[in-house]
């Protein structure tokens, strides 16, 4: 039942070298061939060769105005006192904008400057210079001139220049065809999940959706195969079939070295296994290989043999993509994007970069390149990068990521505050309008983010001057204050009860932010209580029940306001932490606590009513608490935060929050205290 693990640990550049050498050997390390498509359907396609004008534009000397074509030299004597008569037909001819000039004319007088003179003449009162109001032949493009270079992504105006220079068709790179094959007996489709729900052991297959969308996004065309079960022959058949009709195969999962991991053997049997295991994290169990074209069988006819011979000269590259969603998506970025770019004649995509400061110490395994997902904002003059979950299964870490910080091999990690390079997914302009919140978690923060994103000025032309991106990292109330001290956030949500005074937050702010002038603004009051299973089977009535040995509790992490509240009330009740079963099991959000109760791992946990309600659990009220936003004065007064302050002082958001069960929004937006030294 045990087995040897034989994954390699090949450095990324060596893996690329092997892969590109194999592609060179079959002539596939170069741009793909072109195909002719109608210009009107070529938006976003890439020119496969330079395009030269077929015709000149304009193709003749054209009038640039509605008016009269004339010979300029015949107008020299015209002036206000001596108007000049020109005979229609021989000396002046009416032309609309775009009309060709008569062969004898070399200028156009605009109609507003002309008076009729009977039916046979016109009268002008000023001379005109040669070539006035004329678009000369070839003003825009001269036949044979370069219109567009090769390897150019076609934009709307490019299509105009192509058509205007006489091209009905344009030769663009064929879109690389990529097969995406999901494998795994435990997989169900999202359609099945939506219809029948997710049973224990079911995994919703969505890597093929992500990989196919990546392929599309990068200019390829993807074929998503149906899910193949974990069976060597079935996988082999799917790969062989895909190889015949695609430029690249992505086979998802089964790329590791477990008993059900067949990909490496399939690649070996159908072709060449180049790499099995790359020193990157997440994404270690990557396979790179080449599938040879099928050899014709004995019964084939001569023509079959010929086609087999011609196809045998080629092979199809295959990437075995790891199963964890983050690994799968990053494998796409690392291997598929550069390969598609090369085939399409484009430079590989280079993300814009920023230098910023990491907010949390990161230990990283020696010997592997690690890709850490971060959110990013600009706090004062400091760019900060807050690491997100490093779990390879946490796709939301990529969804929320503003960028990636690479920790190279031979580095053991990054110290708190160290400067790092952030490769951005997010437009740098978005970073500038990002409000960074670090602190306590509350479910209404999502609503706040949504409302902020939808704010806009009422000016007729839409603009984003009032829009803000609200990025929230859940570090608990105390974690938020510490982040403010370090200059990592613009504000911190906090609900820290001071046991001495019974007041919220002020004593903690004095202790943790003695030198930072801050404004404390109330966001809301909310109901804390014990989240219990539906029907409250353990009959939990108050915090006293946590002392019962059969009651399994789930706690919040240290520094969380809810944890402070619990510890304070337990002390009041004389219940020792050690006597609470599950006191050490920590979760980071209210919803995670509720999820633990829902799953049956715990009987109860302390959290807000909204979390119980969200997962349809029952709730035993304990008390109402105040949840404040702690805002350093420098940010409180900044332009960045004004839309947020306006929002929480307006009516609409207060109304939305006030209608949620377990929330009281009556104090929303009130300044409850200003603290700290006055700013210089």
């Amino acid at each position: 039942m045990t087995r040897k693990v034989y994954l390699e640990d090949i450095p990324l550049d060596e893996a690329w070298r092997r892969f590109s050498d194999a592609l060179k050997a079959i002539g596939r390390w170069q741009p793909i061939e072109g195909e002719d498509v109608p210009v009107a359907r070529a938006l976003g396609r890439i020119t496969a060769r330079p395009i030269w004008a077929q015709v000149s534009s304009p193709a003749y000397h054209a009038s640039a105005m509605d008016g009269y074509a004339v010979r300029a030299e015949e107008t020299i004597t015209a002036n206000d006192t001596q108007p000049l008569q020109l005979e229609l037909g021989s000396q002046a001819q009416y032309v609309d904008t775009g009309d060709p000039l008569p062969g004898w004319a070399d200028a156009v007088i605009m109609i507003e400057q002309v008076q009729p003179s009977g039916t046979t003449h016109i009268e002008i009162r000023a001379p005109i210079a040669p070539w006035t109001a004329v678009r000369p032949l070839g003003e825009d493009m001269v036949a044979t001139e370069l219109v567009l270079p090769a390897n150019h992504i076609l934009r709307p105006v490019d299509l105009g220049a192509l058509a205007g220079s006489g091209h009905a068709l344009v030769n663009v790179r064929r879109k690389p065809r990529v097969a995406v094959i999901p494998t795994g007996t435990e997989l169900i489709t999202v359609e099945q999940a939506a219809q029948t729900g997710v049973k224990s052991g079911d995994i919703i297959e969505y890597n093929s959706i992500v990989l196919a969308a990546e392929v599309e996004h990068w200019g390829g065309v993807a074929t998503r195969y149906p899910i193949v079960i974990d069976n060597f022959e079935a996988i082999k058949a799917a790969v062989a079939e895909a190889a015949a009709r695609h430029d690249l195969i992505l086979i998802n999962a089964g790329s590791s070295a477990g008993s059900e991991d067949f990909t490496a053997r399939v690649v070996q049997e159908l072709g060449t296994l180049l790499v099995h295991g790359i020193a990157v994290r997440p994404g270690h169990p990557v396979i790179l290989g080449m599938i040879e074209a099928a050899v014709s069988d004995q019964q084939s006819t001569i023509s079959d043999q010929q086609s087999a011979i011609s196809s045998r000269q080629s092979a199809t590259p295959i990437v075995g993509v790891p199963g964890y969603p983050v690994s799968a998506a990053l494998t796409g970025e690392i291997f598929v994007e550069p390969l598609l770019a090369r085939w399409l004649g484009l430079p590989g995509h280079q993300k814009p970069t920023l230098r910023g400061h990491i907010t949390r110490k990161l230990l990283s395994p020696l010997g592997e390149d690690e890709w850490v997902r971060v959110t990013t904002g600009k706090v004062g003059e400091r760019i900060v990068a807050a690491p997100l979950s490093r779990g390879a299964g946490v796709i939301t870490s990529l969804v929320r990521a503003d960028g990636i910080v690479r920790i190279p091999r031979f580095s053991e990690g990054v110290a708190t505050g160290a400067e790092v390079t952030i490769e951005l997914y997010t437009d740098p302009a978005e970073i500038d309008r990002t409000i960074m919140h670090i602190g306590s978690h509350d479910l209404t923060l999502d609503l706040l983010a949504q409302h902020l994103a939808e704010m806009s000025s009422d000016s007729p032309t839409p603009d984003r001057s009032l829009q803000r991106r609200f990025v929230s990292a859940h570090a608990g109330s105390l974690g938020g204050l510490i982040a403010l001290r370090r200059g990592e956030a613009h504000l911190a949500g906090s609900h820290l009860l001071d046991p001495e005074s019974g007041e919220y937050n002020f004593s903690y702010i004095k202790q943790y932010l003695p030198d930072v002038p801050v404004v404390v603004v109330t966001l809301l009051r909310r109901e804390q209580g014990l989240i219990v299973a539906k029907g409250n089977p353990q009959n939990i009535a108050s915090l006293k029940d946590l002392a019962r040995p059969e009651v399994r509790f789930v706690n919040r992490q240290r520094g969380a306001g809810t944890r402070v509240l619990l510890d304070y009330r337990l002390k009041e009740l004389g219940i020792a932490a050690e006597s609470v079963h599950g006191y050490r099991r920590e979760e980071y959000t209210h919803l995670a606590v509720a999820a633990a109760v829902q799953s049956g791992v715990a009987d109860c946990g302390l959290g807000v009513r909204a979390a119980a309600r969200a997962l349809d659990l029952d709730f035993v009220s304990v008390e109402w608490e105040r949840y404040d936003l702690v805002i350093p004065r420098q940010f409180y007064e900044s332009e960045l935060l004004q839309p947020l302050l306006a929002l929480i002082r307006g009516e609409s958001f207060r109304k939305v929050v006030g209608e949620l069960e377990g929330y009281d929004a009556s104090g929303m937006g009130e300044v409850v205290r200003e603290l700290g030294r006055l700013a210089a």
Copy 2:
């Protein structure tokens, strides 16, 4: 035959105010409704509402490794000297990655750390902490949690998060349907042009291609109508038909006030004309209006009447788009993009901006906002913006534009060297790798640009470190030297013959760049001569024939090396400039000279053989001349220019140029002189 011009001059913000007020009145000044689409087909679509998780992910506590599920508390005593036996089934259960944990287990020991012990037990040598190698329920997403906000453009990883949280469908904004109606009796399709050529008076219709592509690019779906002739009833019928099935109508041309301009009347008859003429340039004759829904006719049945009543509550906005291609494309940017963005729930697109220095004085009409297209590069530390053609018919000015400089109303223009804001079309990263050439025009510069764009390192992972963008402005040889002096270009192509010495360039460089150390590198030698019509009907044999009164000449602009050459040789021959018929007609490029000859406007012009050949004209050789690249030393030594120097010193480009008729590439890349003061 004359008529009153009644175009208005409405400021842009006032035009927008009228348009948005009318849209508000019919409830169309807000995001469009959503539609459900399968997640796998939702790439690039925009969420119409916030999306909350349907299921948790993982939906159960899942093993993160292949290994054995155990109770952590039972492993505490295990160590190297006292291995621990765990019974299979009751104390340890094999799980693959992703499998659910048995209800009693709370940790997974990875298989590599386990020894089998008979068939009934496993042996471990280290304790394990609770929740090791477990992905707890909801680690990624907890049911009811916010997955994505509204108004979010779906990226590949977002589709994964949607599917992973149980969504088979996602509600995204319906794509706005936009009708694009080209009108004009003089128009032919590009297919007709490609098949039968362009006759005098024909205009290839491509604005509808550009507008439809813009609509698609901005997230709408376009219907391109067939060309409608200039007939009031025909246009009215097309607009009425389009109004019934679209969210927006773009009708192209006929938006001015000429005798064949029917759009304003059609809009008035079918609805409301809001704006006719906006104070922008290019793009003045814009129409904004609303088409009312058709009223049901007398014979309609009751159900027809009902549908008419319901549709009568609505109206369809219409934009009359000016006919000049640049005006049309910019009208799309100014009116269509913001409207589509609003309907899609997106902020209007804001181009990244740069501050830069304008290279040429621009006079601009008071009272109009002017959009000037510019190319942009970074010359030393100075960002320069070189204006392109301001002709509204020159679509290539938009194709080549790196950005737009707006000259506001109430400004008369911009002085040379003034600092301006450039709204970029081009990625700012591209600007940094741009080589700016200003100077003499040669046809091989296009080839040079193409080769530079294709250069790349041989590293396996594609990169753009060697790629350069070569941007060339044609200002003549002397113009190039002056641009170098002003710090507006990295290099200047020059072929200025010094009458005194018979040498090229050196004396001019000494005169115009006395303080700039430069390196003069030969690009090529080329054959200059008289470009004449096919068959040389005027029997032109040499420059002496320019003195013949019946020979019509076309000249190059002052400062062009070819003009200097002409003046020098005419002086040698004793021919006065005034005696050359057409001496004052100036063109800016060799191809433009050839085009003038081809069109019959001139009988001959001085230019390179390649230009004659390109347009299939005849050529009377005059002499071979040297064409140098003049490069300030600071740029000669810069990293930016190294790929260019490598290219002209390598074999492949020399070979390509050497094979062109009229070119001698044998000296390509040779440093012929270093001049100027030594750099500090």
